[in-house]
C-alpha cells in the first residue's frame, strides 16, 4: 500500500514533467503549425544551464532562475535565427531541420561540458522526506516538483484562457492569417509563444536534473514520450496534453514498478523477469496503439479548424 502511494506520486510527478514538455510542443504546433524536434534539446539545455549556474552561484534557487531565463533566451534566439524561416514549410522540412539542430546541440554540449554527465546536487532543505499522510514519507524535492508543475499548469491555463495574450494565442491557433490581417504583430506573437514553449521545456529539464544525471541525449527519449502524449491527447489541445501526460506518467511508472511482480503470479519467475522489462517499456506504446485504433484523432482533439 505504502509503495503504491509512493509510486503513484512518482507517476504523477513524471506525468506533470511530461506535461510541461508536451504543452510547449503542442502549443507551438497548434499555433505555428511547426514540428520542433529540437524541443528535447531545449529540455537538455535547461538541465545543463541549471547544473552550471547552480555551481557558479552556489545557490539552488538563483541558479535555477538563471537557467530558466537562459533557456527562454536561447529559445527566442533559436526562433529568431533559424526556425522562423521554416514556418509555412513542409512538416518534413521542419523535422529534418530541427533534427539537424539536435545533432548540433548534442555535439555543442559535448564540446562545452564534455562527454561525461553532470549532476545537480540538491540543497539540504529539499532532501528531507516529508510526511504526506501519517506513516507515508515522500522526498520534499519530488513533492515540490509536483507543486511547481501544478502551479505552472494552472498559470498556463489562466494565461491562455483569461488574458489578452492568451486570447491572441488562441486566435492564432484557429486562424493565423486572420489575426495577422487584424493588425496583430504575428511575428512577435510567434516568437513569444516559442519562447514560452522553450521555457516550459527548460523548466521540465532543470527540475528533472537533480533526479537523473544531466547528460547528452537526455531530451530525446522524453521527447518521444511527449510525442506519444500529443498523439494520445490530440494535437494542439493543452487539456488533452495534460490528461494524457498524467495518464502516461502513471502507467509508465506503475507499470515499471508492479508489472514484474504481477507477471510473476502468472508466469514462472524466470520468464517473468525476462518479459517484464520489455513489456513495461512497451506499455505506453501499446496504449497509444489502442487509442489510435479507437480514436485516431486522439482522446481530446482540439476543435476543428
Amino acid at each position: 500500500m505504502l509503495v503504491l502511494v509512493e509510486q503513484s506520486l512518482n507517476g504523477l510527478q513524471f506525468g506533470l514533467l511530461l506535461f510541461l514538455l508536451a504543452a510547449g510542443l503542442t502549443l507551438v504546433f497548434g499555433i505555428m503549425d511547426f514540428v520542433n524536434l529540437a524541443h528535447g534539446s531545449l529540455y537538455m539545455m535547461g538541465a545543463y544551464f541549471a547544473a552550471t549556474f547552480v555551481a557558479w552561484t552556489n545557490s539552488f534557487v538563483l541558479g535555477i532562475l538563471m537557467a530558466l531565463g537562459a533557456t527562454l533566451l536561447l529559445g527566442i534566439a533559436l526562433e529568431f535565427i533559424a526556425l522562423r524561416h521554416l514556418y509555412g514549410r513542409d512538416h518534413l522540412d521542419q523535422v529534418l531541420a530541427t533534427f539537424g539542430l539536435i545533432l548540433f546541440f548534442n555535439d555543442a554540449v559535448r564540446l562545452i561540458w564534455g562527454p561525461a554527465g553532470l549532476s545537480l546536487p540538491l540543497p539540504s532543505w529539499l532532501t528531507v522526506p516529508v510526511q504526506i499522510v501519517p506513516g507515508v514519507f515522500y522526498p520534499a524535492y519530488r513533492l515540490s516538483i509536483i507543486v511547481v508543475a501544478l502551479a505552472v499548469a494552472a498559470m498556463l491555463y489562466l494565461v491562455v484562457m483569461r488574458t489578452r495574450i492568451g486570447m491572441l494565442i488562441r486566435a492564432g491557433a484557429s486562424n493565423r492569417e486572420m489575426i495577422g490581417a487584424l493588425g496583430i504583430n504575428i511575428k512577435l506573437l510567434f516568437t513569444l509563444v516559442f519562447g514560452l514553449g522553450a521555457a516550459l521545456a527548460g523548466l521540465a529539464g532543470l527540475m528533472q536534473a537533480p533526479i537523473l544525471t544531466v547528460q547528452i541525449g537526455m531530451g530525446e527519449n522524453i521527447l518521444i514520450l511527449a510525442f506519444v502524449i500529443i498523439v494520445i491527447g490530440g494535437i494542439g489541445s493543452i487539456r488533452g496534453a495534460f490528461l494524457a501526460a498524467i495518464f502516461v506518467g502513471m502507467i509508465d511508472t506503475l507499470g515499471r514498478a508492479f508489472l514484474p511482480d504481477l507477471l510473476r503470479t502468472v508466469l514462472s519467475s524466470a520468464a517473468a523477469s525476462t518479459a517484464a522489462p520489455a513489456l513495461s517499456s512497451m506499455l505506453i506504446y501499446l496504449l497509444m496503439a489502442i487509442v489510435l485504433v479507437v480514436r485516431p484523432e486522439g482522446l481530446f482533439p482540439a476543435a476543428k479548424r
Partner: protein, 316 residues
C-alpha cells in the same frame, strides 16, 4: 521536363553506378581495403534509403521509424545464428518475413493518421522496437549480440570474402532499385502516387487508398529488412543502438539529400551523407557541429536535394 536521355542527372547516375561496380577493381589494384568496407556500408544504407524513398517520395508517407527494420532484419539473422541456424536460406527469409510482419502491424495502425501524426507515431513505434530489443536479455540486451559466423549459402557465395560480399550488397541494391522502379511505374505504383497527390479523388474513383498505402509500406519495410540482414552480416554485430531513432533520422536525411521521389536520388544522397560524415569526423571529433547546421541550410536552400539541383541544371 525534357525527356532527353543525356542530361546532367542521367550522366551522374550512370557514372555513380559504374563507379560502384568498378570499385572492388580499384580497391584490389591499389590495395585500399578501407574504401571497400566503407562503400559496402554505404551501399547497404543506400538500399535502406531507397526503400524509405519508396514510401516517402512516391507514397507521401513520412516514416520516421525506418531504422526499426534495419534492426529487425539484423536481429533475425543474429538470433538465428545465435541459436545455431547459420544458413542464409533460412535466416534471410525470416528476416524479410519478420520485417514485413512488423511493417504490416505498424502500418495498419499508423496509417489511421496523416501528416505530423504519422511522423510521430512511426517514430514512437520504432522506439518501442528499440526498447524491446534492449530487453532481450538472452540476446545481449543493451550490449547487443555478436554474430560469430556470417550467413552461409551452401557454398554458393562466401560472405566473409570482402569482394563477394560487396557484390552481393551491390546486387541487392540494384535489384532493390529495379524493383522499386517496376513498382513505381506499375498500375499499383500509379495508384499509390495518385493517393499521395489527392487521396479524396482516388477514394472517389473507387480505390481503397489505405490498402494501397499499406501494401506499399510493407514492401518498403521488407526491402529495408533485407538491408538489415546485410548490415548485420557486414558488422558481425547487432544492437539496439543500431535502431535508435537518430538512425531513422539519418535515413530520412539521406533520402532528402539525394532528392525525394527520384529513383537513384537516395543512393547519391547516402553516398554524399556518409562520405561527408567520414570526412568531417576525420577533420574533427565534433562533426555534427557542422553537419547539423549544414542540414538546416540544405533544407532551407536546396529544395529537391542533389537530384533536384541536377535536374534544374539540365533544364537550363
Amino acid at each position: 521536363m525534357k525527356s532527353s536521355t543525356i542530361n546532367a542527372r542521367n550522366v551522374v547516375v550512370a557514372l555513380v553506378a559504374l563507379g560502384l561496380t568498378l570499385l572492388p577493381v580499384y580497391s584490389a589494384l591499389t590495395g585500399n581495403i578501407f574504401i571497400l568496407t566503407l562503400f559496402t556500408r554505404i551501399i547497404i544504407f543506400a538500399l535502406a534509403a531507397a526503400s524509405l524513398n519508396l514510401i516517402m517520395g512516391y507514397g507521401g508517407m513520412m516514416s520516421f521509424g525506418h531504422a526499426a527494420y534495419l534492426g529487425i532484419g539484423g536481429y533475425a539473422v543474429g538470433i538465428l545464428a545465435f541459436e545455431g541456424i547459420g544458413s542464409g536460406f533460412i535466416q534471410w527469409p525470416v528476416a524479410l518475413a519478420a520485417s514485413a510482419l512488423y511493417a504490416l502491424v505498424i502500418g495498419a495502425l499508423s496509417l489511421r493518421t496523416r501528416g505530423v501524426y504519422f511522423i510521430m507515431i512511426t517514430l514512437a513505434f520504432a522506439q518501442m522496437a528499440y526498447y524491446v530489443t534492449s530487453g532481450l536479455s538472452r540476446y545481449g540486451g543493451d550490449d547487443g549480440l555478436t554474430i560469430y559466423k556470417r550467413s552461409t549459402f551452401g557454398g554458393l557465395i562466401d560472405l566473409s570474402n570482402r569482394t563477394q560480399f560487396y557484390y552481393l550488397c551491390l546486387a541487392c541494391l540494384f535489384g532493390g532499385i529495379y524493383l522499386i522502379w517496376r513498382i513505381v511505374n506499375s498500375r499499383f505504383g500509379m495508384v499509390v502516387q495518385g493517393v499521395r497527390s489527392n487521396e479524396q479523388r482516388m477514394q472517389a474513383i473507387g480505390y481503397h487508398a489505405n490498402r494501397y498505402r499499406l501494401v506499399c509500406f510493407v514492401i518498403s519495410g521488407t526491402i529495408c529488412g533485407l538491408a538489415g540482414a546485410l548490415l548485420a552480416n557486414n558488422t558481425d554485430f547487432v544492437s539496439p543502438a543500431g535502431m535508435y531513432w537518430t538512425r531513422s533520422g539519418e535515413l530520412m536525411v539521406m533520402v532528402v539529400f539525394g532528392g525525394m521521389g527520384s529513383l537513384f536520388g537516395p543512393v547519391i544522397g547516402t553516398i554524399v551523407f556518409l562520405l561527408l560524415e567520414e570526412l568531417l569526423s576525420q577533420f574533427t571529433e565534433y562533426w555534427a557541429l557542422i553537419m547539423g547546421p549544414l542540414l538546416l541550410l540544405i533544407v532551407l536552400f536546396a529544395r529537391g536535394g542533389i537530384m533536384g539541383v541536377l535536374g534544374r541544371l539540365s533544364r537550363d
